[in-house]
């Protein structure tokens, strides 16, 4: 990522052929930045090699080589400027969007997180139970060779007969020349090297995998000092691509469309895997009555919330900025610091504080005004409450940017308009405001987009409340994002695939709104530029 910060020293950017004498500082900083790029690339390469991600490695190598070439050649001047931004865009915008989009076509979620192989392993592991009536053995891990690499053997002591046997993948073999401690564990055996806990734990995966076959099942380790005779209740059968119960013979056949093993009666095994499900997540968004039913109502409130939050904070922030813009106000700096305070506090904590202030019986607001309003209990009051909170949290930002923009407007303009006979309001409306809007409209659009998806503002205060008695899934203050979050993560565990499909729909809505607004901004700029 730092790679993208090498915008190139300004000396490089001149279209004229490079002069022979160049500043040594420029050269050194360029070498440093390029060196850093390569170092980061090498650092990033190790995990890629380790995980055998050859495609990723090729992309990394190609990008690094291209960057080196680009900044070491005097040609391609425009590209030198574009490259850092483009890489940032790909890393932080395009890649997440593509990743979300690709997730939306899968059933990725609880019960469908891994691969089919992982599901099979999980099913088999979960089905291993102790053979009824069997005993647990005291066990010592040993080897016939080197402690680090030699073939592993379980030295197990029968709890009843105290007979010690050595077990490996071929089965059990009785041993005689052994030393056993009070607990029954072997401490030494002729021909074997006993592994201590540290040595054994380095070979953990092999120990877990080792099963010593017995007539009733297999002896497996339970930690490093005990073993039990276990039996897998379910086994995967490749010939029928199914899981079979070893006792009852019941089978569950793999269904690649839903990523689960399904029995004859339609019953699914809990451990499924991730598969591509096509457009089914998207059709589900459009046909799910829980989504479609209250969608329009939620969308209208969502727009209302975003517009009221953005507009309210803008008006309040601008009014305060103008009041403090007047040179007649004394102690302007002190006022400004005080006004910016809410902006300096973590909104996360402030939202929780506000939530408690709206409590009907114990909240500050009802206590202060002697009222008994059930703030989050009624639709209108709950909506008013969340907007008030947003107003408090958001006006300092608008105050700051409006102050900056006001200071950038030459005072002569308003003075000139006053001389020409314009009233204060007229001057503001015809001169100051249009100039302000040119600077502030993009900020308003981004603030709108932010508030449109302002998850925390709702989730940390009302959580969507109040909910109508007949629908606990959609509340009066729910935004699309909180409402769909509840659908995707509330009921059937986490459903990332479905959530991704929903977020694409929300993205489309915000994108359309932003596109329209930006078009209008350009119009504004053309008029006033």
């Amino acid at each position: 990522m730092t790679a993208t910060m090498l915008g190139g020293p300004a000396t490089q950017a001149r279209p004229a052929p490079p002069e022979p004498t160049r500043s040594i500082v420029g050269l050194v900083s360029k070498a440093l930045l390029l060196g850093l790029t390569v170092a980061i690339a090498i650092w990033a390469a190790f995990p890629l090699i380790e995980n055998e991600q050859w495609t990723g490695l090729a992309v990394l190598a190609a990008t690094t080589a291209a960057l080196l070439y680009l900044y070491l050649t005097p040609r391609h001047i425009p590209l030198k400027y574009l490259a850092p931004g483009t890489i940032l865009l790909i890393l932080f915008q395009v890649f997440p969007v593509l990743y979300t989009a690709s997730t939306a076509f899968t059933n990725f979620g609880d019960g469908h997180r891994g691969s089919k192989d992982e599901a099979v392993v999980a099913i088999q592991t979960a089905s291993v139970t102790q053979v009824p009536g069997s005993q647990q053995y005291a066990m010592t891990v040993a080897t016939t060779g080197d402690p680090g690499t030699g073939p592993l053997v379980f030295l197990v002591t029968d709890p009843v007969t105290r007979q010690v046997s050595a077990g490996d993948a071929d089965g059990l073999k009785a041993l005689d020349d052994v030393t056993v401690n009070a607990a029954g564990r072997v401490t030494a055996a002729a021909g074997y090297t006993v592994l201590n806990a540290g040595q054994a734990s380095l070979r953990s995966a092999e120990i877990t995998a080792l099963a010593v076959p017995t007539p009733g099942g297999a002896i497996r380790s339970s930690g490093l000092s005990r073993a039990y005779e276990g039996r897998a209740g379910r086994a995967y059968d490749e010939s029928c691509d199914c899981v079979r119960d070893t006792t009852t013979g019941q089978t569950w056949t793999a269904d690649e469309n839903i990523g689960a093993f399904v029995g004859a009666n339609g019953e699914r095994l809990a451990q499924g895997w991730k598969v591509t499900v096509g457009f089914s997540n998207f059709t589900r968004v459009l046909t799910d009555s829980a989504v479609a039913g209250p969608f329009v109502r939620t969308l209208i409130w969502n727009f209302g919330f975003a517009i009221a939050s953005t507009g309210g904070t803008f008006v309040l922030g601008l009014l305060l900025a103008m009041a403090l813009h007047s040179p007649r106000v004394r102690g302007r700096t002190a006022y400004r610091v005080l006004l910016v305070l809410p902006y300096a506090m973590p909104s996360f904590a402030m939202l929780l504080v506000w939530r408690d202030m709206f409590n009907t019986d114990f909240g500050l607001i009802n206590n202060l005004f002697g009222t008994d309003v059930d703030w989050f209990g009624g639709s209108a009051s709950a909506r008013l409450a969340v907007i008030l909170v947003q107003l408090w949290l958001g006006y300092p930002y608008m105050f700051l940017v409006a102050t900056g923009a006001l200071q950038a407007i030459p005072r002569e303009l308003s003075e000139a308009s006053r001389i020409d006979g314009a009233s204060a309001w007229g001057g503001f409306r015809r001169i100051t405001l249009p100039l302000l809007m040119v600077a502030l409209t993009p900020l308003l659009i981004s603030s709108f987009a932010f508030n449109f998806n302002n998850f925390n503002a709702i989730y940390l205060t009302t959580e969507g409340a109040p909910f109508p008695a007949d629908n606990p899934a959609n509340g009066a203050t729910d935004l699309l994002i909180t409402y769909t979050y509840r659908i995707a993560f509330g009921g059937g565990g986490a459903q990332y695939g479905y959530a991704a499909a929903i977020s694409i729909f929300i993205f489309l809505i915000v994108a359309v709104v932003s596109a329209i607004s930006f078009r209008r901004t350009r119009h504004l700029e053309e008029v006033h530029a």
């Binding site: 390569v38 090498i42 650092w43 380095l202 930690g223 451990q271 409340a465 009921g491 565990g493």
Partner: protein, 410 residues
């Protein structure tokens, strides 16, 4: 100019090697050590903040005894999700500490392995705790502490323990009758004792005694009856249940003596003691003539992660080390919940009489359902509670909640 370019290339290459060299040295522990004959393997344990602090000395001791490195890492938020996601990516721990009702979800995600405890070990646990960690006939972890709701009362304001909820309402002379957290969106866990006393249930049970997700009790006539009774305690009734009593303020309201009765668990005791309130603990009372009020039993559990890098060591730690009373007592001292290990419980109950009372209050309790379908219950059920407490029609509300839940379970 050519020479200039050469100089640049040389400088870049030199720097590259220098930096890569530094990086290489930093990297080597991560990439190389697996081959180096180091003292022993590594065990990574994840727990919440409080417990990881209590675990630390024992983990170090286990490490020293066995010649291995043990790392205890505190996960302060969303432990279950963090664990499942990290496991899937291969960056999870070897041992996870968490609540037993995660089991269903952890199993369907292939995140935990069963543990095989010998008969003498299983006999050393409280049977309820062991039942809670049993899922589909397998034991999925080693329990170490239990918790359930009880009625904590201020003995200055309410000298005798009420036998029924009606008696409680009668006896309460404080501004708030009962501190039982409801909140704006309800709280199914805290309501359940009253719901069960009024005849409601969440899931039926199968022949083997497991919860049966196909038999959903929410929306059934029993649940409507139960919510009719709950409504009589609501804001339009005797005002024992109020939405303004939230998870954040219920204990504080009790400690500031604004209510005489608090329905909460062992975790509330620390605050109550700090406020110097004379208190006593008794079972949560049920409705007159109703069934006993059954609080949910929660069991804190050590899990062996399926995708851990050192499963053999993790199994050793969980089955042979966590089962020792010393550790259970230390964890009790970090947060006073009744230990699941009978020997540890006997050891601490003499100096902490509350423990026995909490266990007594949980006598009729039911293990919190560990089936993954339980995730679909919490939210709609809680909201139905909040609506009914606020005065909504019980039949309409609970039927809608049942519909929402069953469509989520499918």
């Amino acid at each position: 100019m050519k020479e200039d370019d050469m100089r640049k290339v040389a400088a870049v290459l030199l720097l590259t090697f220098a930096l890569a060299g530094c990086g290489g040295n930093d990297d080597s522990p991560g990439t190389q050590t697996s081959k180096e004959p180091k003292a022993g393997g590594e065990l990574v344990i994840w727990a919440d903040d409080k417990r990881s602090a209590a675990l630390k000395p024992f983990a170090d001791k286990f490490g020293a005894e066995n010649g291995v490195t043990v790392k205890v890492q505190a996960i302060s938020k969303d432990q279950q999700t963090t664990f499942v996601t990290a496991s899937q990516q291969g960056s999870g721990p070897d041992v996870m500490v968490g609540a037993h009702d995660w089991i269903g979800n952890l199993v369907q995600n292939g995140a935990i392995d069963p543990v095989q405890l010998p008969a003498d070990q299983t006999a050393s646990f409280n049977p309820n705790a062991l039942k809670a960690v049993t899922f589909n006939g397998q034991t999925y972890g080693v329990p170490y502490a239990m918790e359930n709701l009880a009625l904590i009362r201020n003995t200055d304001l309410a000298p005798t323990a009420p036998a029924t909820i009606e008696e409680l309402v009668e006896a309460a002379k404080t501004p708030e009758k009962l501190c039982l957290q409801v909140g704006q969106n309800g709280d199914a866990y805290h309501l359940y004792p009253l719901y069960s006393s009024a005849g409601g249930y969440l899931f039926g049970t199968t022949a083997t005694g497991d919860y049966d997700p196909k038999d959903l009790g929410v929306g059934k006539p029993e649940s409507v009856q139960a919510f009719r009774k709950i409504a009589t305690l609501g804001e339009k009734g005797s005002k024992a249940l109020k939405r303004s009593i939230t998870p954040e303020n219920s204990i504080a309201t009790f400690t500031s003596k604004k209510c005489a009765f608090l329905v909460s668990g062992p975790w509330a005791i620390t605050d109550v003691k700090k406020a110097n309130i004379k208190y006593d603990i008794s079972p949560v009372p049920g409705f007159q003539g109703g069934q006993p009020a059954r609080p949910f039993l929660g069991v804190q559990t050590f899990y062996v992660a399926s995708k851990g890098k050192n499963k053999a060591l993790a199994q050793e730690f969980v089955t042979n080390y966590v089962t020792t009373p010393e550790l259970a007592v230390a964890l009790y001292e970090a947060e006073p919940r009744p230990p699941a290990l009978t020997a540890a419980f006997d050891q601490v109950k003499t100096k902490d009489t509350d423990l026995e009372k909490f266990v007594q209050a949980g006598k009729d309790g039911l293990p919190l359902p560990a089936v993954p379908e339980m995730a679909a219950i919490w939210d709609p059920f809680g909201k139905a509670e909040a609506a009914v407490v606020g005065g909504a029609d019980p039949a309409q509300t609970i039927t809608a909640a049942g519909k929402t839940i069953s469509s989520a379970i499918k």
